[in-house]
Symmetry: C2
Subunit: 418 residues, 2 copies
């Protein structure tokens, strides 16, 4: 479908844009102090995971010292591949005893430098843990190991009539998506990883393995104790390592309809958006592009879209319901751009001015009650912004929580906050 092609093109372009922004933001990256590794350590590690699963080769360390962002590579001292949760637990215990940083690595598709080994240490590659542990079609859930990616799962599910809709663009590992609280253009209908993660098997710094939702891990609705699942979703490896995830599945849509709508102004698009949202029609996917972005897409992917503020929409459902939904849409609608909807026109207008004035810069989200990150997390890329967003007291609370679970500070140090 034409508008799907455009959305894909835009996603790719947007990733490029973010990468370029990161370069500018981090030219003057500070060098952190590296931890000294005892000489016997690699042998101890090999005892746990096997010789063939430990590497100190430069090529392997380089491959694991960065993600898809342009943060400069920061090499881990070694890379260990684990095949089972018990190995992860033993590695954590070993690292904790020696105070050595431990950085989990899923698919390496992050955009905020979350896997870079700022202080050296052990990069734990989880990509060999590829079991799809269970699919409970009747209950709309499944459990996967840390190395299973989004596309692998959806291929596996193809004949069940179910799918996992959260789509951040890259073919990320699902547990990595939990760790970074990933999201995507489908969020309007299906939510983000926060709403779709039912349980995590987590390994703590001291080697403790536990299920964040205990026995209630396959229950949709629970109010049993603190919500540990959502504490670990988005913790980016700084509180523990996610080794399994139980996530929600959805029926594959019977039919999909795409639509593109052009506007004379950004304000017009947003004004109608709010009104039409009142109808409560469940749209599945939505992306807004101003005329500059449309033009960039045209050039990037050799398209010839009308250069105007545009909304790209997708509806999922059964055929007759969809027909009714699209009938209701004389006007298009939008949501979820990580500022309150009503602040959207201001953000876009002001951003355009600033781009003209000063080259590429980030959006003004924070000044308009928005968030500095809607889908990629903090990593090392947005630590200053998080401080501005959450404030001193909020950061203090987060640090106290981390200290409680990781007193030696070995879990992905230097990420989320300084």
């Amino acid at each position: 479908m034409y508008s799907q092609r455009i959305i894909r093109s835009y996603s790719a372009l947007f990733r490029k844009f973010q990468i370029i922004t990161n370069i500018n933001r981090h030219k003057a990256q500070q060098v952190a102090e590296k931890i000294q590794i005892p000489s016997s350590f690699a042998a101890d590690l090999a005892q746990i995971v096997g010789e063939h699963n430990v590497s100190t080769a430069n090529a392997i360390r380089e491959q694991h010292g960065h993600d898809e962002s342009y943060h400069s590579i920061e090499l881990p001292d070694m890379v260990a591949f684990t095949e089972r949760t018990e190995q992860v637990s033993e590695v954590a215990r070993l690292c904790n005893r020696h105070g050595i940083p431990l950085i989990p690595f899923g698919s390496g598709t992050g955009l905020e430098g979350g896997v870079n080994a700022i202080k050296g240490g052990v990069c734990l590659d989880l990509s060999k843990m590829t079991k799809i542990v269970s699919v409970n079609a009747g209950d709309f859930d499944c459990t996967v190991e840390a190395g299973v990616t989004r596309k692998t799962l959806n291929n596996y599910l193809r004949d069940t009539g179910l799918w996992f809709p959260i789509d951040p663009g890259a073919d990320a590992s699902l547990c990595g998506m939990c760790a970074t609280s990933a999201s995507g253009t489908n969020a309007v209908r299906y939510g983000t990883m926060r709403e779709n993660t039912m349980n995590l098997e987590v390994v703590l710094a001291d080697g403790t393995v536990f299920d964040t939702a205990g026995k209630g891990k396959r229950t949709k609705k629970t109010s049993a104790g603190y919500n540990l699942t959502n504490l670990f979703v988005g913790s980016e490896g700084t509180l523990g390592i996610i080794t399994k995830a139980t996530i929600r599945l959805y029926p594959q849509p019977e039919a999909t309809i795409s639509a593109t709508c052009h506007f004379e102004s950004v304000q017009a698009a947003v004004d109608t958006t709010v009104q039409v949202l009142q109808y409560g029609i469940p749209i599945a996917r939505i992306e807004f592009l101003d005329e500059v972005s449309v033009d960039a897409c045209n050039k990037f992917s050799k398209l010839n879209m009308t250069v105007a503020p545009s909304l790209f929409l997708e509806f999922h459902g059964n055929a007759s319901v969809l027909e009714d939904q699209t009938k209701l849409v004389g006007k298009p609608y939008s949501t979820d751009v990580c500022v309150p909807i009503s602040s959207l026109p201001k953000v876009i207008t002001r951003t355009k001015e600033m781009i003209k004035e000063a080259g590429i810069i980030g959006k003004l989200a924070l000044e308009l009650d928005g968030t500095c990150t809607g889908e990629h997390g903090i990593g090392q890329g947005k630590r200053e912004l998080l401080e501005r967003e959450i404030g001193v007291s909020g950061i203090k609370v987060m640090k106290e929580l981390k200290m409680a679970l990781d007193p030696r500070g070995i879990m992905n140090p230097g990420k989320v906050f300084f």
Copy 2:
């Protein structure tokens, strides 16, 4: 509407059932050690909130020493009414200095003894904090103070075309619903408090006031740092006191359709449930009653429903879409009964046997991957069950988190865990 009347009747009956269950469960309640209050303390408290806002009168203490459950009353030493967040902060600081328990009190409609002053101390009544701080119709959110109840908010919203759909039965305070992670029969469509709380203003034990979502508090989708909002949702006053909540609003449904479906067996209801859910039709409200419950409802509310396993359904939407949805339902569907759907028939069949054998007892949810509490929280009523559900490591993590934020243990002690 007939089926709405039945659902209300069933809700009332179910609350009675839970209350009776609680009596049996807690006949042998242990007596906890009370904290000694210094003689100058009431005067110090009055300095903060004013003389008229402190009471040591027996009637007031009794009123605040229990909720709607049959847990025996446990009196606080005194009750303080606060009118502003700054007062809550100062009271917390005062209590923390003296190590005196502090128990927040919203509407007192809980069912697990969450407000009972097991160790004495100060009950903090927040019901005078009744400001609806803001309603952002364009962004579908609003911010309310701790004393605003669900019905008050919905009355206030009546002319805006918006409403807050989470409905636990009682007219609870919205911040209390956050604290207990409340839910209700609408959860199928709208989720629970977990999905609908965007930010909380929280007062910690040391008096710190902060927003759990920082500046991003009105953003739908954020991946900025740890999810503090969802850590405090369901924390039942044991981590801090919720003084304001920013919650999501929804368009009032244009039309509502109710339906009742009878089945020959529980198994038949569940089998068709799973199939029909695959259509992905958004049902708004659902309640399942087996024939024993239907019979009980008939007697309790003088109705004459067919005595058979039955599903009661409600659809929200616009008129033409609803017509299509109901056309698709030759069969009815169900979800969210706090065990995985596929375990439902086992729970119900086995529960019936056990009721016959031994009188009233709780469901077998835990043995079937379910949760001990879908909507009321833990309080003091379900602490043993939480240990069984979450396991030793999970409880240890929760206690470590509490210790980090409330090192002197003054925040609603004796709740959630021992």
